[in-house]
């Protein structure tokens, strides 16, 4: 199949960027979206140009590295799919495809489609953990965890930290990502001792990073490749509220 590819090109964070158009031929429906980009890059290199920079690593939908807006949608048209899992069979011969980097103030562009998501790491560093040092832990089965709680924790823990929720939110809000992390630990007994201080510190850091506020558009849920539900956001809001009113733990 043939496509017209419009790609965002930007040399580095401080240079202006713009869309560049290219006709691409010889695409097979069985190629993954990133294999299509590999081919485009191979062609560009053979012509003596500089390939389109994009982030990727595992190419099986689990590392959260791949990240791009495809025709205005984070990770493209298919639901519950990362960019690397998207295949060209989701497009038609002759389609125009626009690819752009994640759009958010808190994710500055590094080059072309590559952005800097270190703000996510800093949110976790602010409190997204259980303070259990290595060694001396009790037997793993000494504390029973109801299957429902453990399944719920797992639903939240499935977040791959890709940032699609932020990129697709009109406010550039990171609520779904933060709520997923908080929801993972809040649903387990191990997460209880620091539950409220964790919620407070993470949300504080989230605000400091320049992410926007949530006004219930739910674009995040729609674009999330791991189908993290927005109900975790309401759970998080309750914990943050509780933290500010009834808990003074630091």
């Amino acid at each position: 199949m043939k496509i017209t590819l419009h790609a965002w090109r930007q040399k580095d964070a401080n240079s202006p960027g713009g869309m560049q158009t290219r006709e691409v031929d010889g695409i097979s429906k069985d190629m993954s979206f990133l294999e299509m980009l590999d081919k485009v890059n191979e062609d560009i290199i053979n012509e003596g140009g500089e390939p389109i920079a994009f982030d990727h690593d595992c190419r099986e939908g689990i590392c959260g590295t791949c990240s791009m807006m495809i025709n205005g949608q984070a990770h493209g048209p298919d639901g519950g799919t990362t960019t690397c899992q998207l295949h060209m069979r989701s497009f038609q011969d002759g389609d125009a495809i626009h690819i752009e980097p994640w759009r958010s103030r808190a994710f500055p562009v590094v080059r072309d489609l590559v952005v800097d998501r270190s703000s996510f790491d800093r949110i976790v560093q602010a409190g997204g953990f259980v303070s259990a040092n290595t060694g001396g832990c009790q037997d793993a089965n000494s504390q029973l965890v109801p299957k429902v709680s453990s399944d719920l924790a797992m639903d939240a823990a499935a977040c791959i930290g890709c940032g699609a929720c932020v990129a697709s939110c009109p406010n550039g809000s990171a609520m779904l990502f933060v709520a997923a992390k908080i929801g993972h630990l809040a649903n387990l007994p191990q997460g209880q001792p620091e539950r409220y201080s964790r919620a407070r510190s993470m949300v504080k850091q989230m605000d400091a990073e320049g992410f926007g506020a949530c006004s219930n558009h739910y674009e995040c849920e729609a674009s999330c490749p791991k189908d993290i539900p927005v109900t975790f956001i309401s759970d998080m809001n309750r914990d943050v509220l509780k933290a500010s009113t009834c808990h003074s733990d630091k």
């Binding site: 040399k11 580095d12 097979s28 069985d30 993954s32 294999e35 590999d38 560009i44 290199i45 003596g48 500089e50 390939p51 920079a53 982030d55 690593d57 595992c58 190419r59 099986e60 939908g61 689990i62 590392c63 590295t65 799919t81 899992q85 295949h87 080059r111 590559v114 800097d116 270190s118 996510f120 790491d121 976790v124 560093q125 602010a126 997204g128 953990f129 259980v130 303070s131 259990a132 040092n133 290595t134 832990c137 009790q138 037997d139 793993a140 089965n141 029973l144 965890v145 109801p146 299957k147 453990s150 924790a153 797992m154 823990a157 499935a158 791959i160 993972h184 630990l185 191990q190 997460g191």
Partner: protein, 643 residues
């Protein structure tokens, strides 16, 4: 100069060695720990757990990874699970049995003392992970659930849906983040290590490239830990992440670290088959699927009916037929070779004939689709996205693919390489899996090394050899850093100066084909000799005709790849040489000349019960071979049988 390969295995009975060794080791006074700086390269299970644990003890840690976040290390992709000898299901497991299964699974090519220690600390890993909030699967009573993996007749594998690696890594990443937040670990993301710096033969630092700005930097440390993963991407197509590489290990090798058993590679039996020449990677379908899936091919050669039209009596469940006691759960090397055998004989399915069926119909009719979805939902979804077929209705088509590398940097019992102060953890070392790794044992080993072994043995090294006096410490101003940095810069300049016509990927693909055809699932003297002729030619062509667009003072993925592929092109030769030298079949290393009448691997314990350790002697020169003889005092060497 041959290596002096002292494995430093402690004296005493097997079960007491680690306890005794921990007691005998030097400690560092808490107040003095702050005076030491430890460099940890890698943030996968091994690196993140080591960096967090060392920092908790009080050391200053610098941790490096090439991804944009430590959470994205390749460990994240592990699906199936992690072993431990908890014996929660009450089915007869014990530390001794896990030890025995691992030694046997590795086809008697690993060190007893290391494997025993691994089994011994396995239970603490599960305790640690649960305390961190890893959401392992549980049963309705709230207890932890287990499943079975290949090479074992007990259920000892803990799992978190099909995302065990992700959940364990997030646990370790959270622990690491906690230490970064406190300021005692400095994290360097998007940073690639390009050399180890040695002073008077000891590791004292590294040289890195900042992948965003291209800046070359020096980092000094009192010890350097390489936790940089495996080298399966030497085959180009593998289940590894695109960035997985041999660069860190190989550059350390060039600085004097012995490389052990490079030819031991694991070909995983259940991967989605190659579908086109554009394919950039292969996707694993977890071994756990063999708990409920049955492997078969048609009994008739070239039978191209759809699987549902082939009646039960015309199907050959060849694993159940050949190995009745382990059935579909034989170890990986055995399952892979059996699939290859059927396909070579013309019984393969799919367009290319290079696939076999993995069928869930029986399990679905016995347990219902919902149960199967709960167990493997994300794997089925992954399959459907790639193959565009619904595995709940049609059996999966699978074929073996390169997956894991048992070979790696040689380490002693303390995980120290032949370079003092340079340690290797996780998949990057050669230590625990012999010639074949059992499923769910790599996660266990990475975390054992990082949480429970290195914190002791690195402290011991620092207690014994560490320089506490700040005035006497080696700094980045030392001439050894000048030299190493200059060499790194010169090499990149040399690469850019080639300015040829062919892309880096095109070379990588060609190397991959040479390796797969000649040093893959089956190897012979002839194929290996052929590869050893072709690789140097390809390397020469690379250095005279590779094209690297753009410059090195910017974000440039092609510069990253060029460095990695250049190293693969050298390393591949050592791999083939190792495979050629090992005149036996063992585990994942199958020399077709050495097989029994039934096509099983034939070991030669008399001549090859050793680790082959290679020493670098200059580009294009034949590396020198040293051997560590493996002593077996607690298990009897027998022919592995899974029948």
């Amino acid at each position: 100069m041959a290596f002096n390969l002292d494995s430093k295995i402690p004296e005493g009975p097997l079960a007491d060695k680690w306890t005794k060794h921990r007691f005998d080791m030097k400690l560092v006074n808490p107040a003095n720990k702050r005076k030491f700086n430890v460099i940890v390269v890698g943030s996968g299970l091994a690196g993140a757990s080591a960096a967090a644990s060392l920092s908790e003890l009080g050391y200053n840690v610098d941790c490096f990874c090439f991804q944009d976040s430590p959470r994205r290390a390749h460990s994240i992709a592990a699906q199936g699970g992690i072993n431990a000898a908890k014996n929660y299901p009450n089915d007869g497991d014990s530390v001794r049995r896990l030890f025995y299964d691992t030694i046997k699974g590795g086809d008697y090519r690993s060190r007893e003392a290391n494997v025993y220690r691994l089994a011994e600390v396995s239970n603490s890993i599960i305790d640690q992970c649960v305390a961190q909030g890893v959401p392992f699967a549980r049963d309705y009573g709230g207890l932890l659930d287990n499943r079975s993996f290949g090479g074992a007749q007990v259920s000892r594998t803990f799992y978190a849906r099909g995302q065990t690696g992700q959940q364990l890594l997030i646990g370790a990443y959270q622990a690491l983040s906690k230490e970064i937040g406190k300021g005692s670990v400095t994290m360097h993301t998007r940073t690639e290590m390009l050399d180890v710096v040695t002073v008077d033969g000891k590791a004292k630092g590294i040289i890195t490239r900042d992948l965003v700005s291209g800046e070359i930097k020096r980092h000094a440390g009192d010890a350097v830990l390489l936790c940089t993963g495996g080298y399966g991407n030497v085959f180009y197509l593998s289940t590894n992440a695109m960035g997985s590489n041999v660069t860190a290990a190989f550059r350390a090798h060039k600085k004097g670290a012995g490389f052990a058993n490079p030819c031991y590679t694991q070909i995983h039996p259940t991967c989605i088959p190659v579908s086109s020449e554009h394919q950039s990677k292969l996707t694993l379908m977890s071994e756990s699927l063999r708990n409920d899936g049955r492997v078969w091919v048609p009994k008739k050669k070239g039978d191209d009916r759809p699987p549902s039209d082939i009646p039960e009596g015309e199907r050959d469940y060849y694993l159940e037929r050949r190995y009745p006691s382990f059935g579909n759960l034989v170890p990986r090397d055995v399952a892979s070779r059996a699939a290859k055998e059927r396909c070579d004989e013309g019984f393969g399915v799919g367009e290319s004939g290079l696939a076999v069926y993995l069928d869930f119909a029986d399990a679905i009719s016995r347990l219902g689709e919902d149960t199967i979805r709960a167990r493997y939902g994300n794997l089925f979804q992954m399959y459907e996205k790639i193959a565009a077929e619904n595995p709940y209705k049609t059996p999966m088509r699978i074929f073996p693919a390169v997956h894991y590398t048992m070979g790696g940097l040689w380490v002693d019992y303390n995980l120290q390489t032949t370079v003092p102060g340079l340690f290797a953890l996780g998949e990057c070392n050669f230590s625990d899996h012999g010639a074949n790794r059992l499923g769910a044992s790599a996660l266990m080993q990475g975390l054992a090394d990082g949480y429970f072994v290195a914190p002791y043995t690195v402290s011991n090294y620092l207690g014994e050899h560490g320089e506490m006096d700040a005035a006497k410490k080696v700094t980045t101003a030392h001439p050894a850093f000048d030299e190493a940095e200059a060499a790194v810069i010169a090499r990149t300049e040399r690469l850019l100066a080639v300015n040829g016509k062919q892309s880096i990927d095109s070379f990588h693909k060609r190397l991959g084909l040479i390796m797969w055809d000649n040093c893959g699932m089956g190897r012979t003297k002839e194929t290996l000799t052929k590869a050893l002729e072709e690789i140097p030619k390809l390397r020469e062509e690379f250095w005279s005709d590779v094209r690297i667009p753009g410059g090195d003072k910017e974000f440039n993925a092609e510069v990253e790849k060029a460095n990695r592929v250049a190293d693969f092109l050298e390393f591949a030769e050592t791999m083939c040489l190792d495979a050629l030298t090992r005149e036996e079949s063992c585990g994942g290393h199958f020399r077709e000349e050495h097989q029994s009448g039934e096509g099983e691997a034939q070991r030669d314990d008399e001549n090859y019960a050793h680790a082959a350790v290679w020493e670098y002697t200059g580009e294009g020169n034949r590396p020198e071979l040293s051997m560590e003889q493996l002593e077996f005092e607690n298990v009897m060497l027998t022919t592995r049988s899974y029948k």
